[in-house]
């Protein structure tokens, strides 16, 4: 009965959408990279960079949207680093990605200490406020869940539409997908595989950073270490879960968020009394792995994912 109560409450669904938002940004970012043939394991670190850069920008006096832009640009810089190493030099995407994550994370902490040497508890900023859309937000349950969110959440859903449109409806998207399927086919048409993949990695990394910025600028109002907490890795799984399609990846993000919101509430019920809370924290991950197994059986991986492209090689 308590479970039913949880599932029928507007606050539960609002939490689902809120928790999903950063995942949606980062998942779309990763999806763009992978569709072009580059696995971007820098995602975790780039989210940390975004979380810090956006927050720091606002803390030093810019407005919130400029902060988002600063976060995106910072993420793109690390994306460019990833791209130069994996696309231009053709190095191992696994090693480079993990390296970028470590480098991005540690340089963020370094920058944090440089900027705030004497602070024990991180300063707060004024985050994005929820923006209730007129009329729509009055719909029962759905209204407060979907239409009383912060502007960044609306942006996240908008990004899914844009990514889907670009990938499937524009010549650029076609070229990008082809670069991830068979770079030789792209090169044979005289397009630059390097350019396309670099572009995808940089743009995708920008989105990942905005996902990170959501955490400091919308979900919480402050930056602290470990705040990204594996969300980047979840997004990698969500891309697979979504079979490299934006719409399905969006569903995956919502599903994961639902598990997460559900376990928090479950802990406070009678069921949660006797059980260690770590068990509940585990729940969304365990269920995600299960869902991944079920869903991604027949997913078609971009055929050239993780395959470096070198021009003029036999």
């Amino acid at each position: 009965m308590e479970i039913l109560e949880i599932l029928l409450s507007a606050s539960f669904w609002a939490a689902v959408v809120r928790i999903a938002s950063p995942l949606i940004f980062a998942t779309m970012g990763e999806l763009i990279c992978e569709r072009a043939g580059v696995l971007n394991l820098g995602i975790e670190g780039i989210m940390v960079v975004g979380a810090f850069a956006g927050w720091m920008a606002v803390y030093t006096g810019t407005d919130l949207w400029t902060g988002v832009a600063v976060a995106a640009v910072a993420g793109m810089a690390f994306g460019a680093l990833h791209g130069v190493l994996t696309v231009v030099f053709g190095l191992s995407q696994h090693v480079v990605g993990l390296g970028v994550t470590l480098f991005a994370t540690s340089s963020t902490y370094f920058a944090y200490r440089l900027a705030l040497p004497e602070v024990t508890s991180p300063p707060r900023i004024a985050p994005f406020e929820p923006l209730a859309l007129p009329v729509l937000s009055d719909i029962p349950i759905l209204g407060p869940a979907l239409f009383a969110q912060t502007p960044l959440t609306y942006l996240a859903f908008g990004v899914v539409g844009v990514v889907a449109w670009v990938l499937y409806r524009t010549p650029l998207g076609l070229a990008l997908r082809a670069a991830g399927e068979n770079p030789a086919a792209v090169a044979a048409q005289g397009l630059s595989v390097t350019g396309l993949r670099m572009g995808a990695v940089i743009a995708g990394s920008g989105l990942m950073a905005v996902g990170g910025a959501f955490l400091t600028m919308s979900a919480f109002s402050s930056f602290f270490f470990e705040m990204v907490n594996g969300r980047g890795w979840i997004c990698i799984a969500l891309v697979v879960f979504g079979a490299w399609r934006p719409g399905k990846a969006l569903l995956g993000a919502l599903l994961f968020a639902a598990f997460d919101a559900f376990q928090i509430r479950l802990q406070q019920t009678a069921i949660g009394e006797g059980l260690p809370y770590q068990l509940f924290l585990m729940l969304p991950f365990a269920l995600s792995i299960l869902a991944l197994v079920v869903m991604s059986r027949r997913a078609s991986v971009p055929a050239a994912l993780m395959m470096p492209w070198r021009k003029g090689e036999r």
């Binding site: 409806r169 524009t170 010549p171 650029l172 076609l174 070229a175 997908r177 082809a178 399927e181 068979n182 030789a184 086919a185 792209v186 090169a187 044979a188 048409q189 005289g190 397009l191 078609s300 971009p302 055929a303 021009k311 003029g312 036999r314």
Partner: protein
């Protein structure tokens, strides 16, 4: 130097030289092409045909020489410039993205990238018109992965035509086609030529060259070995130009059956999707003979090859080697230990590992045994000596034993695989499509090696879709159709037409 052509010259290659490391793939090659002309570029594998065309198309930059289209030089290494100048290329290995639709594949790169919508509607209409005009039937909405090889080639040609190609380069277009598909392709090409397009046609099949081209340029070891009008030459003369000497006529005496080396008894295998499994077949491979397995591809040849090479176990029935039954432990390792040599059908996929060196590929079947492995350590010296021996004995043209095998042409790769398979003096040899895609010289080499092994007493199973090859080489011929095996026919007792009836399923006891 070049025979005068009446039509204006649309393409000129002048003094093209290209080196890969120590290998000179093209050495001062010059070539011209007139409007509405079909020039065949003929040569053995590794003669430098594909390299030359990749230079024309801008995939490689030439070390020396110029490419001129319509009198204007093309910038080197720029495929976009080649496309803009009206050069279209159909690569031997198709450059299609398999998970995308036909329309998507054709559209890649044809529109400015920064547009909000792809012009699908107009594109579809144009593709339909081109399909109709040139007889290139293909469903534009189909995903490429679902298309047959012949259909994929049509998509490649459509791609070139969609970009207004005036010069079409086809790299061994018939290597992957059935005879019927090849005929349809030739009809298409003739239509193109009639409309003023020019074609460069790379091949090593002499009869195709004679049927289609007006002029032939022969490459040998990176140099032009000759240039003749088709009207003034014969297949034999062309073959001589290609390999440098006239090949010996193939007249092979049949050999008597020796002791049975390998026997399949009542073997049944499960169906694989649409492909039928084997239905209780009996097959005996006798020593000192070549047993030919004829049939249309996909009728169970793969299942027999998998059984003999140890990649599969029979569902029912047994495999016997030299009278001993191979039990439940039958595996690829057991097959090797039993002295079965394998020449796999797919030399790139299962026959070799592209990014390993020739040395490593040469010892692939034996690296866990002496002399290559001593107390768990790889003896690199022994491996290298073995590889060098193979390279020398089998005339494998390569930069050296340390080169990655992907740098080799198909023929040279096959020579190495053949050498590897035959070096242990095996009792049973499984030769699955051993000459597919090879040129005249390499085919002769492979056949000579198989005949030499026959003379040494080996039992050879030759699986081929080329009936001429089977009828010319095999002492006993079986036909496989829908998982059923015909009785063995001695060479010369059945005509091609009679075997064709069996291939179509006639003659079997349960035939309708």
């Amino acid at each position: 130097m070049a025979p005068a052509t009446a039509a204006p010259v649309v393409l000129r290659l002048e003094g093209i030289t290209k080196r890969f490391g120590t290998l000179t793939a093209n050495d001062a090659v010059s070539l011209s092409l007139g409007a509405g002309e079909v020039v065949a570029l003929l040569g053995e594998n590794g003669a430098g045909k594909t390299t030359l065309m990749n230079i024309l198309f801008g995939h490689y930059s030439a070390d020396e020489g110029v490419v001129e289209v319509g009198g204007l030089p093309l910038p080197p290494g720029a495929p976009r410039a080649a496309i803009a100048a009206g050069v279209g290329m159909v690569h031997q290995h198709f450059t299609l993205a398999e998970n995308l639709s036909v329309v998507d594949n054709i559209l890649i790169g044809t529109e400015p990238l920064w547009r909000l919508r792809a012009g699908r509607g107009a594109a579809r209409a144009r593709i339909a018109a081109l399909s109709r005009d040139f007889g290139l039937a293909v469903d534009p909405e189909a995903v490429v992965a679902s298309l047959s090889v012949g259909e994929r080639q049509r998509v490649e040609i459509l791609k070139a035509l969609y970009r207004d190609a005036r010069i079409l380069v086809l790299d061994e277009p018939t290597a992957v086609l059935t005879p019927q598909e090849a005929e349809a392709l030739f009809a298409t090409l003739r239509r193109m030529v009639a409309q003023g397009l020019s074609v460069i046609f790379i091949s090593h099949k002499l009869h195709e060259v004679m049927a289609l081209a007006s002029r032939v340029v022969v490459l040998r070891q990176g140099r032009i070995a000759g240039e003749v009008a088709v009207a003034d030459t014969t297949p034999a003369a062309l073959a001589a130009l290609m390999v440098g000497a006239a090949p010996a006529p193939a007249q092979i005496a049949p050999a008597p059956a020796g002791p049975a080396r390998l026997r399949l008894r009542g073997v049944t295998t499960p169906n694989e999707g649409a492909r039928p499994g084997l239905r209780g077949i009996d097959l005996t491979l006798a020593g000192g003979q070549i047993t030919g397995l004829a049939g249309v591809s996909g009728n169970g040849q793969g299942a027999i090859a998998a059984l003999i090479s140890g990649l599969a176990r029979p569902e029912a029935g047994s495999i016997e080697i030299d009278g001993r039954e191979a039990g439940r432990g039958w595996s690829a390792r057991a097959a090797l230990d039993a002295g079965i040599a394998r020449i796999p059908e797919d030399r790139h996929g299962t026959g070799s590992i592209a990014d390993l060196s020739l040395t490593e590929n040469a010892i692939l079947e034996r690296f866990t045994r002496p002399p290559f492995s001593r107390r768990g350590w790889l003896d690199r010296g022994a491996a290298r000596r073995f590889a060098e021996g193979l390279i020398a004995r089998h005339d494998v043209r390569c930069p050296g034993p340390d080169a990655r095998i992907r740098l080799l042409s198909g023929g040279n790769m096959q020579k190495l695989i053949l050498g590897r398979a035959l070096s242990g003096d095996p009792g049973v040899i499984l030769a699955n499509q051993p000459v597919r895609g090879l040129d005249v010289g390499a085919i002769g080499f492979v056949h000579a090696e198989l005949l030499a092994a026959r003379a040494r007493g080996a039992a050879i199973l030759l699986i081929s879709e080329d009936l001429d090859e089977i009828m010319g080489l095999a002492d006993v011929i079986h036909v496989i159709s829908a998982g059923r095996l015909s009785p063995g026919f001695a060479r010369g007792t059945k005509t091609a037409a009679e075997l064709g009836v069996w291939m179509a399923g006639g003659g079997f006891a349960d035939a309708a």
